[in-house]
Assembly symmetry: C2
Homo-oligomer: 189 residues x 2
């Protein structure tokens, strides 16, 4: 079974991903725990946030690493990275969001350093794909990066909307993402 501490962290990531300053009562509820219990594990909001950071970084980083190692074909790597992002769900989306806008206030200033390494590899893969003409060179890597994050968020929203079948999601996401970055080969269909 999942440890209570873990339940709280997961709940926090989900809730904060939707509402960055949701109060801790909401997080506790979502974790099906009393606020009192939450406070027993995390001295304060900052500490909980930090735990979220660590969790997100760790999970996403290793999932991305695995994705990269899963193949030497850059296109397959990118596909696996997309799936990794989707599997990490709000972990990835939230992390991505925090990196983008260092929010108007507070937040333990994202140390990020760790994630940067992955990002570097991600860019290497994408520019590689552009150089070999497999994906369009019309788009900039920076745009493609934002697209990537956007696609993960989109899958979360799709799931949450209740109008897209869970089994379709990854297929749809790959279909849409690969086309959106101007892929030139034919994906299976």
């Amino acid at each position: 079974m999942e440890t209570t501490q873990q339940k709280i962290i997961d709940a926090a990531i989900e809730v904060f991903n939707v509402d960055l300053s949701a109060n801790l009562e909401v997080v506790a509820d979502h974790a099906q725990v009393t606020r009192r219990t939450l406070h027993r594990y995390f001295k304060d909001r900052a500490q909980l946030m930090e735990a979220c950071q660590t969790e997100m970084q760790g999970k996403c980083r290793s999932a991305m690493m695995a994705a990269i190692k899963s193949s030497t074909d850059p296109l397959a790597q990118l596909e696996q990275m997309l799936y990794a992002g989707i599997d990490c769900g709000s972990k990835y989306a939230f992390l991505d969001k925090l990196q983008q806008h260092p929010p108007y206030r507070q937040m333990p200033d994202t140390p990020e350093g760790e994630f940067d390494e992955i990002k570097k590899q991600w860019f290497a893969i994408v520019t590689g794909l552009q150089k070999t003409g497999i994906i369009s060179a019309e788009l900039t890597p920076a745009w493609i990066f934002v697209l990537f994050g956007g696609m993960v968020t989109t899958t979360i929203n799709a799931l949450g909307s209740g109008n897209v079948a869970r089994n379709d999601i990854k297929r749809f996401a790959l279909f849409s993402f690969s086309r959106s970055i101007g892929i030139h080969t034919n994906t299976n269909e």
Copy 2:
């Protein structure tokens, strides 16, 4: 010049789009106004929220309407709707977000009714495009709808990241969106 009230509403939409429960100080700062002034225009948070709703609904609705009326070609309509969404920026993104997750707490329950009309037309256009085989029938309209909203958010993020030139944004967005929904014709390039 822009009225103070308007400045506050715009600031609120931008801030709340990033952090739904950001405190009013942040909104006031962002609007370059004292919290005291903000409170002179809006009795409380709920009232400010309501004003945001109205603003978002109004602006987005009319922009979407205009987009639809701009042509009888459904593909052109969809393109203009995308641009409308992008121009509305966080107005659209925030509205979209609120419709998706009625957030864990509070919020004047979105009356939405108004926006529903547009949504209906949007779906009509998309299913029409699918019937005529102009866009892939492999994807469901529901997914395409989430994609649409996601693309607007993506443009906001791209802009915010500072790594994508403002002048490229719409072109990139159209390129990526039209391909992501599995368009079969060739767009200009």
